[in-house]
Every structure is written in C-alpha cells, then in structure tokens.
Symmetry: C2
Subunit: 333 residues, 2 copies
C-alpha cells in the first residue's frame, strides 16, 4: 500500500486539521465528537442543513459546508458511518430554532445513526426532518444498503436545499425541495480500478487489466456486471441510458448534468465523458441547463466516474445559481 | 491501458469540446488552431495574459481562462508543446492594444514555440513580453528542460498577474509582477505512481510497490532519487525544506502555500499533506497568508503531490484576493 498518510488511525483527524488550516475563513472543526460547521454562528431563525457519512469521499461532505450549502457535516472513519453523538452534537450546534434537515445517503449505518441522533434531538425539542437520498439506479439492495444506494444526487441536493435554507425558506419548504431532489435525481457509476482503505492495506476488490465494474458503488460495492472496457462514449451511454430511463426523461425536459470523477480519474477524461453525456442529452432533445464536472463524490483513489441527472425547472435553477461559498464549491459571491 | 477515452488521437479535441459544453458561459474554444479564450471579447486597452503547454495537466491552463486570470490558453497534445500557430492565433485574438504577456513554463519546446509566435506577432506590431517560470528546485536540467523545470508556481503566477492585468495595470507592471512571481515562487514534487500517455499505452516509467520518485517532473521526468515511501509528514518535509531553503525563507516571512495533487491522489490525503506543510511553516515562524489545496497542475492519473511556496506581501495578497471567474478557480464574484 502506498498512501500519503502518517497513521491509518489518524487519517480522518489529520485531514480535518488540514481542512481547518486551509479553510479557516469558512469553516471550523469540532474534534470530539467530530463535525465541521460554518465559521459564523447560525443565523437565528434559519433552517439548518446537515449531512454526513463515511470519509474517503472528499470533498463530500465537509467541503460543502458554508454559506448557501451545508451548516454542518459529520465525517465518519473512512467508508464508515459517523456515530450518533456526532450528528447530535452537530445538530445542537447549528440549530437556530427553525428546524434542522438531516440529509442522509441510503446506507444502513448512516440511516440508523442519523435516526438515533434525530430522536435524541427531538427529545430536546429540536425539530429534525430526515430526507434519505437513494439515487443509484445500478442495483436494488447492496452491501450496506436496503434499496438503492445514495450517491451523486446528494451533492446536487445539498446545493439546492442549502440555497433554499439560506434565503430563509421555512422547514417545510426546504424539505419539499429535498424531496423534489430525491424524486428527480438519479445516478450510476463505473469503476476502472479499486481503492485501498488505509486501515486495511489492500484493494477492496480485484479487477482485471481490461475490465470495468458497471454500476459500482462508492464503497466499491458490486454493480450490475463486470465487463470489458469500452470507449468513453460507449461507457457513458451505458450509464446515461438507464439513468434517463429511470427518470422517464423526454424531449423538452431540462436537466442539471453532473459528471463526477471517483478520485483517480484525470480531469481531461472527465471532459471527454462530459462531451459524450452532453451529446446524448442533445440527441434526446433534453436541455442541459446547468452542469457540474469534477471530483465531488469520490472513493479515495478509485479510477472511474459516475453520471447524475437531475430534472430541473426555473425554481431549481434559481436555487442552483444562488451564491455558494464553501471549500469545494463557490460562485456568485 | 484502461482510459476513459474514445481514440488516443482525439483526446485533446474531445476534452476541449467537453470544456466548451460545460463552461460555455465563461470560455470559447477555437479548434484550428486550438486555443481557449474568454467568452467575452477583450476589453480595449487591457493587457492580455496567455499561457499554454502540453495537455494532461488539467485544469492548467485552459481551466484558468476567464475574468481575473488568463485571456487565452494554448493546449498542445498530451505532454507535447503547442505549436507556434496556436500561440500566434491566440495572441492576435486577445490582443487589445496594450500588449500581451506570454507566460511560459521552462520546457525547451514551449520556449521555442512561444518565441516563434512572439516574433511573428512582433512583426505585426503586437507588443509581446515573455516571462519564463522555472520554479522546480528538484534538479538543474532535465528531460525537455535546460535549467529548472516550470511547475506549480505557474498556477499562482497566472492568478496574480491575471488580477494585475484585469485591474488595468500597464504592460510593464504586469511583467513586473510576473517577474516577482518567477523570483519568489519555488516548488518540488513526489510521485507514487507513473501515468500512461493515451497514444503510448504503457506507463512512462516503472516504480516499485514501496517506492517513490523524489523530485519528479510533471511529465514523469526523473527527480533527485528513488526512495522507499515514508509518512506524509516525512515526505512533506523532504519537499518543504529544499523549497524553503531555496527561497531563503526566514521567520516572519509571509507566504502563499500551495499543496497540489498530481491527478490520482485523493483529496483526503492532500489535506493530511497540507496539515504537515502548515505545521512546518508554523515551526519556522513563517506565516501562511493564503493557500490553495487541490489538483491544479496534474500529470494525468499520476499519484503524488507537489508543494509550491511563494513569498507574499500586501500587494500580492491583494492581487490573490481579487475576483476570479474561471472553470477551475472562482471567488469574489
């Protein structure tokens, strides 16, 4: 194993220190229990939005804490759910009296631990609403997941409901947008290579020199099938079509198109893939109104990519365009 | 070779198409000869800043075209210098009567071809000033380079002189800042793995499962030595110290600290490395006034990182903080 780390047991805490040192103008870090929150204290009466999950998917979620996006993020150990005390502490730290949204990716540990934290906070009279993202069309049920896995839609949802909360929407409205995103975003991914957990020291799966895993999960969970590698255009079509079909995309629809790298994929390849996806959308008469291309929900050094499509409308585009100022996403400010 | 491409000979053009489709609000692409320029035509009387070089280092340089940074970028084939007709066309397209700065990384082909283009443009009464960045302290002379290689300082320089040009500084002032950056920025890198050129199909060098290349170049050029992998803190010290020494960094100095991923390094590791660099700076009594952490000057899917230190002062910080709106860097707007 070749990794740029000091000690497998200190990966998360040292990365948090690095984030705090680099982005201390935007965020602050609590270490016990671990959560990242905005540098500025919460604005009275603003709905708070919290997410979290295993580490190793950076910049998600900690890189999305800041104005116009998350109020706090709870990082677990690598590929491991955060614990309920993290969500509880984060929720209590950022609650500003208007309610808190827990945005949770559909993994059994995350669901269970966020639920425990929500119950504790509810007992303390904090109103918590939980929305679960389960957007990966590759498979039903999986390692760690009953139903579909939660993947790339989470990033888009954090941006959209973060903007809703920031402009002062009440809890019901923020939850309504979260449910919109949950219902209208779908994803699927491909891996060319595996990745290695620092604490384990060997790849989490084996894959041949000419093979890809079609429909891989962000923790290396198996997808639909193991196939020979194809061209970028062919591979993009193998993801784009099932995603579009699941969304019943039709001519005239407007979408946010997100091509995401898994961590080890060169940006030059992501642009080739984006070109392929954009052309597929054009062929269907689907209008790409906004896009995102880059490494935003990763799996350590895994090579591969995913595509996320979210149906959009004027309301969603307005929230997408709203100012955001986080370590990983910033515009309009 | 597993790559997300369609045809090795179309990698650059298809990536340019993807960039244009994704960032058409900011940039436009000329295909023959190939260059990326800002969507808006140049503002009369503004000094233009152009860079370029081989592809495979994305987002550099095309991702840095936009308000407050570059006016145009010329992408060569992967790891190959762009041709003089590209620089000539780009220079003529963005010249707004106030002169053009060619910011060139120190590689023999880049130097030669930018010089030919500058000569042609000069004959057409366009005033071109060339500044060569040669900031890599690892080795003197190298494959493709007489003297030191040009690496990470280029990114910081593009930001700083782009801001100078944007606020209306005359050519001499923009060149003065470019020379400041050239004199006050130094870098060094480490590779954990090689990378594969699409047109070649096999790794450009071999490296053992427990080895790193200390002082590697961005095209995989050999560095100082091949050593066994060490901890992140140790490796960062092996880069930070020679860079700091070359800059004669002393207590009380202010710096911009840039920890750069080579393309295949997970962001979580870059934050661990940033933490190490930040602590080394603190120990020396050197103040990190601004920073950048991420994949900005890459080598395809290479795993590894580089550190760049640039001495700063109030003037440089003001230019750093100025608004920038490009595909890869954006703030203040």
């Amino acid at each position: 194993m070749k990794k740029l780390i000091n000690d497998p047991s200190k990966v998360v805490v040292e990365a948090l220190k690095g984030m705090e040192a680099a982005h201390g103008d935007l965020i602050k870090v609590s270490y016990e229990p671990a959560f990242i929150s905005r540098k500025e204290p919460p604005k009275k009466g603003k709905v708070a939005v919290i997410s979290g999950g295993g580490s190793g998917h950076e910049p998600m979620h900690g890189g999305f804490v800041g104005l116009g996006m998350l109020d706090a993020a709870c990082p677990g150990e690598v590929f491991t759910s955060p614990t309920p005390d993290q969500m509880e502490a984060a929720t209590k730290a950022v609650d500003a009296g208007a309610g808190v949204v827990h945005l949770v990716k559909n993994y059994t540990g995350d669901i269970m631990n966020f639920q425990m934290a929500a119950d504790i906070c509810a007992a303390d009279n904090i109103k918590v609403e939980t929305v679960v993202i389960a957007d990966d069309v590759a498979v039903e049920d999986s390692l760690y997941t009953a139903g579909r896995r939660g993947v790339g839609s989470t990033v888009l949802t954090e941006k959209i409901i973060g903007a809703s909360a920031e402009r002062g929407d009440p809890l019901e409205a923020v939850v309504k947008y979260a449910n919109y995103c949950k219902d209208n975003g779908r994803s699927m991914g491909i891996a060319l290579s595996s990745c290695t957990l620092p604490a384990v020291g060997k790849p989490i799966f084996e894959i041949g020199d000419d093979e890809i895993e079609l429909g891989v999960g962000i923790h290396g969970e198996p997808g639909r099938e193991r196939i020979k590698i194809k061209t970028a255009n062919e591979l993009m079509a193998m993801l784009f079509e099932p995603v579009a079909q699941d969304l019943s995309l039709k001519q005239g629809d407007e979408i946010v198109l997100f091509v995401n790298g898994m961590g080890g994929t060169p940006l030059i390849e992501l642009y080739i893939l984006y070109n392929a996806a954009f052309e597929l959308a054009n062929k269907k008469g689907v209008k790409v109104v906004r896009n995102l291309v880059g490494n935003y929900i990763t799996s350590l050094e895994m090579q591969g990519f995913s595509v996320t499509i979210m149906k959009a409308n004027a309301d969603i585009v307005k929230l997408w365009d709203a100012p955001v100022l986080t370590p990983a996403l910033r515009w309009g400010i």
